[in-house]
Amino acid sequence: METLVGIVAAATALIGAIAAVTHRNAVVGVLFLVLNLVSLAVFYVLLSAPFIAALQVILYAGAIMVLFLFIIMLLDLRREEERESGLLQKVLSVIGGGVFFLLLWGAATGGAAPAAAELPEHFGSVESIAVALFTTYLIPFETISVLLLVAMVGAVLLTRKGGR
Protein backbone atom coordinates (compact mmCIF):
# COMPACT_ATOMS: atom_id res chain seq x y z
CA MET A 1 0.00 0.00 0.00
CA GLU A 2 2.68 2.41 1.03
CA THR A 3 4.72 1.61 -2.05
CA LEU A 4 1.72 2.20 -4.26
CA VAL A 5 1.02 5.57 -2.67
CA GLY A 6 4.67 6.39 -2.99
CA ILE A 7 4.78 5.60 -6.68
CA VAL A 8 1.66 7.61 -7.39
CA ALA A 9 2.94 10.54 -5.36
CA ALA A 10 6.32 10.41 -7.09
CA ALA A 11 4.65 10.43 -10.45
CA THR A 12 2.38 13.36 -9.62
CA ALA A 13 5.26 15.25 -8.02
CA LEU A 14 7.37 14.89 -11.13
CA ILE A 15 4.51 15.65 -13.50
CA GLY A 16 3.53 18.63 -11.40
CA ALA A 17 7.07 19.99 -11.43
CA ILE A 18 7.58 19.49 -15.14
CA ALA A 19 4.23 20.97 -16.03
CA ALA A 20 4.79 23.88 -13.64
CA VAL A 21 7.95 24.98 -15.43
CA THR A 22 6.83 24.19 -18.95
CA HIS A 23 3.21 25.29 -19.15
CA ARG A 24 2.76 28.47 -21.12
CA ASN A 25 -0.03 29.67 -18.89
CA ALA A 26 1.45 30.75 -15.59
CA VAL A 27 -1.80 30.25 -13.72
CA VAL A 28 -1.92 26.64 -14.77
CA GLY A 29 1.75 26.44 -13.88
CA VAL A 30 1.06 27.53 -10.32
CA LEU A 31 -1.71 24.99 -10.00
CA PHE A 32 0.65 22.25 -11.14
CA LEU A 33 3.20 23.48 -8.64
CA VAL A 34 0.58 23.10 -5.94
CA LEU A 35 0.07 19.54 -7.13
CA ASN A 36 3.79 18.98 -6.82
CA LEU A 37 3.90 20.45 -3.33
CA VAL A 38 0.98 18.36 -2.12
CA SER A 39 2.52 15.22 -3.56
CA LEU A 40 5.70 16.01 -1.69
CA ALA A 41 3.65 16.46 1.46
CA VAL A 42 2.48 12.89 0.98
CA PHE A 43 6.09 11.82 0.97
CA TYR A 44 6.76 13.73 4.13
CA VAL A 45 3.99 11.82 5.82
CA LEU A 46 5.48 8.57 4.58
CA LEU A 47 8.86 9.68 5.87
CA SER A 48 7.58 10.30 9.40
CA ALA A 49 7.52 14.05 9.11
CA PRO A 50 3.88 14.84 9.68
CA PHE A 51 4.54 18.32 10.99
CA ILE A 52 6.54 19.35 7.95
CA ALA A 53 3.87 17.76 5.75
CA ALA A 54 1.23 19.88 7.40
CA LEU A 55 3.33 22.99 7.00
CA GLN A 56 3.93 22.10 3.39
CA VAL A 57 0.23 22.05 2.68
CA ILE A 58 -0.80 24.97 4.83
CA LEU A 59 2.10 27.32 4.40
CA TYR A 60 3.61 26.43 1.09
CA ALA A 61 0.74 25.24 -1.03
CA GLY A 62 -1.80 27.30 0.84
CA ALA A 63 -0.13 30.64 1.44
CA ILE A 64 2.91 31.11 -0.77
CA MET A 65 1.30 29.73 -3.87
CA VAL A 66 -1.74 31.89 -3.35
CA LEU A 67 0.62 34.84 -3.28
CA PHE A 68 2.06 33.76 -6.60
CA LEU A 69 -1.39 33.31 -8.05
CA PHE A 70 -2.44 36.67 -6.72
CA ILE A 71 0.46 38.46 -8.38
CA ILE A 72 -0.04 36.66 -11.67
CA MET A 73 -3.72 37.57 -11.68
CA LEU A 74 -2.97 41.11 -10.60
CA LEU A 75 -0.49 41.67 -13.40
CA ASP A 76 -2.58 39.66 -15.84
CA LEU A 77 0.38 37.58 -16.87
CA ARG A 78 -1.43 34.47 -17.87
CA ARG A 79 0.45 34.14 -21.08
CA GLU A 80 4.11 34.67 -21.55
CA GLU A 81 5.06 37.05 -24.28
CA GLU A 82 5.97 35.09 -27.34
CA ARG A 83 9.50 35.58 -28.41
CA GLU A 84 11.52 32.54 -29.15
CA SER A 85 15.19 33.19 -28.89
CA GLY A 86 18.47 31.62 -28.01
CA LEU A 87 18.60 28.18 -29.58
CA LEU A 88 22.14 27.87 -28.29
CA GLN A 89 20.92 28.64 -24.80
CA LYS A 90 18.31 25.91 -25.09
CA VAL A 91 20.65 23.28 -26.45
CA LEU A 92 23.37 24.06 -23.94
CA SER A 93 20.86 24.18 -21.11
CA VAL A 94 19.49 20.77 -21.94
CA ILE A 95 22.94 19.28 -22.37
CA GLY A 96 24.24 21.00 -19.27
CA GLY A 97 21.18 20.01 -17.30
CA GLY A 98 21.56 16.42 -18.48
CA VAL A 99 25.22 16.24 -17.54
CA PHE A 100 24.52 17.88 -14.24
CA PHE A 101 21.69 15.45 -13.51
CA LEU A 102 23.85 12.47 -14.32
CA LEU A 103 26.63 13.71 -12.06
CA LEU A 104 24.16 14.50 -9.31
CA TRP A 105 22.18 11.33 -9.60
CA GLY A 106 25.21 9.14 -9.98
CA ALA A 107 26.81 10.57 -6.88
CA ALA A 108 23.63 10.59 -4.82
CA THR A 109 22.53 7.06 -5.50
CA GLY A 110 25.57 5.32 -6.89
CA GLY A 111 26.26 2.91 -4.07
CA ALA A 112 24.51 1.00 -1.37
CA ALA A 113 23.31 3.37 1.32
CA PRO A 114 24.05 2.45 4.90
CA ALA A 115 21.23 0.83 6.80
CA ALA A 116 18.47 3.05 8.08
CA ALA A 117 18.57 3.91 11.76
CA GLU A 118 15.87 2.99 14.24
CA LEU A 119 13.46 5.83 14.77
CA PRO A 120 13.08 7.18 18.28
CA GLU A 121 9.70 7.61 19.81
CA HIS A 122 7.64 10.65 18.73
CA PHE A 123 9.94 11.14 15.77
CA GLY A 124 8.76 14.06 13.70
CA SER A 125 5.94 14.97 15.99
CA VAL A 126 4.99 18.60 16.52
CA GLU A 127 6.25 18.34 20.03
CA SER A 128 9.68 17.06 19.20
CA ILE A 129 10.14 19.62 16.46
CA ALA A 130 9.01 22.39 18.78
CA VAL A 131 11.43 21.31 21.46
CA ALA A 132 14.32 21.36 19.05
CA LEU A 133 13.26 24.73 17.67
CA PHE A 134 13.09 26.33 21.09
CA THR A 135 16.25 24.84 22.49
CA THR A 136 18.97 23.81 20.12
CA TYR A 137 17.75 25.87 17.22
CA LEU A 138 16.61 28.87 19.17
CA ILE A 139 19.03 31.21 17.48
CA PRO A 140 18.16 30.21 13.92
CA PHE A 141 14.52 30.36 14.86
CA GLU A 142 14.90 33.93 16.04
CA THR A 143 16.93 34.72 12.96
CA ILE A 144 14.08 33.49 10.81
CA SER A 145 11.79 35.98 12.46
CA VAL A 146 14.15 38.82 11.59
CA LEU A 147 14.43 37.44 8.09
CA LEU A 148 10.67 37.45 7.59
CA LEU A 149 10.45 40.93 9.01
CA VAL A 150 13.11 42.28 6.70
CA ALA A 151 11.50 40.55 3.74
CA MET A 152 8.23 42.22 4.63
CA VAL A 153 9.84 45.63 5.02
CA GLY A 154 11.67 45.14 1.75
CA ALA A 155 8.53 44.15 -0.10
CA VAL A 156 6.77 47.23 1.22
CA LEU A 157 9.65 49.49 0.26
CA LEU A 158 9.75 48.14 -3.24
CA THR A 159 6.06 48.29 -3.93
CA ARG A 160 4.61 51.22 -2.04
CA LYS A 161 3.63 54.29 -3.97
CA GLY A 162 5.53 57.52 -3.70
CA GLY A 163 9.01 58.39 -2.45
CA ARG A 164 10.35 58.86 1.04
Binding site: L33, S48, E80, Q89, A151
Partner: protein, 99 residues
Protein backbone atom coordinates in the same frame (compact mmCIF):
# COMPACT_ATOMS: atom_id res chain seq x y z
CA UNK B 1 10.20 3.49 -0.73
CA UNK B 2 13.90 3.30 -0.24
CA UNK B 3 16.27 6.22 0.28
CA UNK B 4 17.75 5.70 -3.16
CA UNK B 5 14.37 6.24 -4.76
CA UNK B 6 13.74 9.33 -2.74
CA UNK B 7 17.08 10.76 -3.77
CA UNK B 8 16.42 9.88 -7.39
CA UNK B 9 13.14 11.76 -7.25
CA UNK B 10 14.86 14.61 -5.46
CA UNK B 11 17.66 14.95 -8.00
CA UNK B 12 15.15 14.77 -10.83
CA UNK B 13 13.06 17.52 -9.27
CA UNK B 14 16.15 19.61 -8.69
CA UNK B 15 17.16 19.28 -12.33
CA UNK B 16 13.66 20.18 -13.46
CA UNK B 17 13.90 23.30 -11.35
CA UNK B 18 17.32 24.17 -12.76
CA UNK B 19 16.08 23.73 -16.31
CA UNK B 20 13.07 25.85 -15.54
CA UNK B 21 15.36 28.68 -14.49
CA UNK B 22 17.47 28.28 -17.59
CA UNK B 23 14.68 28.02 -20.12
CA UNK B 24 11.82 30.24 -19.01
CA UNK B 25 11.59 33.97 -19.47
CA UNK B 26 8.77 34.85 -17.14
CA UNK B 27 10.33 36.02 -13.90
CA UNK B 28 7.51 34.53 -11.86
CA UNK B 29 7.91 31.15 -13.47
CA UNK B 30 11.63 31.30 -12.80
CA UNK B 31 10.83 31.98 -9.18
CA UNK B 32 8.55 28.94 -9.21
CA UNK B 33 11.36 26.88 -10.63
CA UNK B 34 13.58 28.00 -7.76
CA UNK B 35 10.84 26.91 -5.37
CA UNK B 36 10.97 23.49 -6.99
CA UNK B 37 14.72 23.35 -6.40
CA UNK B 38 14.25 24.23 -2.75
CA UNK B 39 11.57 21.57 -2.46
CA UNK B 40 13.90 19.01 -3.96
CA UNK B 41 16.36 19.93 -1.25
CA UNK B 42 13.67 19.62 1.37
CA UNK B 43 12.74 16.18 0.12
CA UNK B 44 16.37 15.10 0.38
CA UNK B 45 16.62 16.60 3.86
CA UNK B 46 13.54 14.80 5.11
CA UNK B 47 14.51 11.54 3.49
CA UNK B 48 17.93 11.76 5.14
CA UNK B 49 16.30 12.75 8.38
CA UNK B 50 14.14 9.65 8.30
CA UNK B 51 17.08 7.54 7.29
CA UNK B 52 19.40 8.84 9.99
CA UNK B 53 16.68 8.95 12.59
CA UNK B 54 17.57 12.52 13.48
CA UNK B 55 15.11 15.39 13.51
CA UNK B 56 17.68 17.98 12.44
CA UNK B 57 16.84 17.53 8.79
CA UNK B 58 13.21 18.34 9.40
CA UNK B 59 14.19 21.48 11.25
CA UNK B 60 16.29 22.70 8.39
CA UNK B 61 13.44 21.85 6.01
CA UNK B 62 11.28 24.10 8.12
CA UNK B 63 13.83 26.89 7.88
CA UNK B 64 14.13 26.40 4.14
CA UNK B 65 10.39 26.77 3.80
CA UNK B 66 10.47 30.02 5.70
CA UNK B 67 13.38 31.29 3.67
CA UNK B 68 11.45 30.35 0.53
CA UNK B 69 8.53 32.38 1.79
CA UNK B 70 10.77 35.38 2.46
CA UNK B 71 12.39 35.08 -0.94
CA UNK B 72 9.02 34.78 -2.62
CA UNK B 73 7.80 37.92 -0.89
CA UNK B 74 10.84 39.96 -1.92
CA UNK B 75 10.98 38.42 -5.37
CA UNK B 76 7.36 39.11 -6.13
CA UNK B 77 7.80 42.65 -4.86
CA UNK B 78 10.68 43.17 -7.27
CA UNK B 79 8.56 41.70 -10.07
CA UNK B 80 5.78 44.08 -9.18
CA UNK B 81 8.11 47.07 -9.15
CA UNK B 82 9.56 46.14 -12.51
CA UNK B 83 6.13 45.55 -13.96
CA UNK B 84 5.07 49.02 -12.92
CA UNK B 85 7.99 50.52 -14.74
CA UNK B 86 8.07 48.38 -17.86
CA UNK B 87 4.74 46.56 -18.10
CA UNK B 88 6.58 43.30 -18.55
CA UNK B 89 8.11 40.59 -16.41
CA UNK B 90 10.10 39.05 -19.20
CA UNK B 91 13.66 38.71 -17.92
CA UNK B 92 15.05 38.90 -21.43
CA UNK B 93 13.96 42.50 -21.56
CA UNK B 94 16.15 43.19 -18.54
CA UNK B 95 19.17 43.73 -20.66
CA UNK B 96 20.27 47.32 -20.25
CA UNK B 97 23.46 46.36 -18.54
CA UNK B 98 25.88 44.07 -20.23
CA UNK B 99 29.53 43.71 -21.31
Amino acid sequence: MSLVWMLTLSTALFTVGVLGVLLRRNAIVILMAVEIMLNAANLALIAFSRHLGSADGQILAFFVMTVAAAEAAVGLAIVLAIFRLRKSVNVDSLNRMKW
